[in-house]
Symmetry: C3
């Protein structure tokens, strides 16, 4: 394969890491989130700055304050140089918790500023992630609208419909 075409494969691998991170966070699959980072990766995430394993401890405590998160990704600009890539990803994270607590119902507009490295065995993973915040709002509790019972609901656990559906892939 020539170089430009192999770059497309690199970008696919990088893009999928960023996507799997969000799946892992929203479904609270800690192993999946962990697999997005190199072992010595650093995450700079507001008041937290440290190793990926400490970050996960911190993030899981943060997430326990919410009933649900929805990390919605937009623009992802990947710049590739050999075994390094710089990736900026726009995101809007919707947080939900007890309706009468505004701090548990925040909408955050931010960007993930990621340094990816390709290494032997591990492949493309995050070596450093910096979260850059652009805006924040709380949600208006008066606008909450109940999802009718007939609708299938997402969950954070093993009963999210995603998991059963993925088993078909291997079948």
């Amino acid at each position: 394969m020539d170089r430009p075409a192999s770059e497309l494969l690199d970008e696919r691998e990088i893009r999928n890491v960023v996507l799997r991170y969000c799946r892992g966070i929203d479904r609270m699959d800690r192993e999946l989130v962990r697999s997005c980072y190199h072992d010595d990766a650093v995450d700079v995430h507001g008041p937290f700055r440290g190793s990926v394993d400490d970050f996960l401890d911190w993030a899981w405590r943060q997430m326990s304050r919410h009933d649900r998160t929805f990390h919605f990704l937009g623009n992802m600009l990947i710049e590739l140089r050999g075994d390094r890539a710089h990736v900026e990803t726009y995101a809007i994270a919707h947080h939900f918790g007890e309706a009468d607590d505004p701090a548990r119902n925040l909408t955050l507009g931010f960007r993930y500023i990621d340094r990816f490295e390709r290494r032997d065995v591990a492949g493309w993973r995050i070596a450093q992630r910096v979260l850059v915040s652009d805006w924040c709002e709380t949600r208006d509790p008066a606008l909450r609208w109940p999802i009718p019972d007939a609708y299938l609901l997402g969950t954070r656990g093993a009963d999210d419909p995603l998991h059963e559906s993925r088993e078909w892939l291997e079948g």
Copy 2:
């Protein structure tokens, strides 16, 4: 072409199906939506569960309650295994209707959980779609802001500016 590169083409085809579905819904182009599914496809969409043709009847009735929809897609994670693919797509659907009716002005956060199959002639299409709802809010009518007359407006019909612009492509 070797396998990894041909997988990129598979993913492009799959991605474009999901994108054309949204174009078809928002512009109310029923044929375009229909072409995203295999003939025997099943859609599980809240209270509706059934064949694609019945789904379209149901969906078109639902959409008649709104003046406009805007199906905005984020994270799309494609997992490919030969002639099968599992695709999770984050979406936020903005619905607009009479300002004083909250049920016609909903914002829905959800995921399309799709099973794609590649078949002869038809190529990659949806074999099964399940809608998983994550959150729902009504819109605050006090926040509506009129779009100034000088702006080109989107429509659901043949006069949406998209259609005229696409003719240039064939010219």
Copy 3:
């Protein structure tokens, strides 16, 4: 490289132009925005209709009314025909300014309808862009939520953390 694979490279180049446009607007990097267009490009943007250079003058005046913008992209459907491509991109632009002025705090849902051309030297760039507006709302000032001091903030200038991080790429 065969034709389908080279189309993937075309689409990557096109996608990156649309992404760089948003980076350029949100970081107020006029050169970067300019580089997304051919020299004779036309932009139809609400009350503005004219050349790319006049558009930039107009857009920069518009943007001076805001403290921050966040151009969030979703669905991008690229249709390629040789040296031409038609590209529809869903976008939600979040504008922020003085909290008590609703006109400076608008959220716009719209689509970029782009005609791309590939030309010698310049490569793939926008030859014509039309903005199609779908919906607009002002933001509720009561929902503003302060970003804690510990968080790294985005800016429009050279001190946005993006810039320092990108230097690593060349290192």
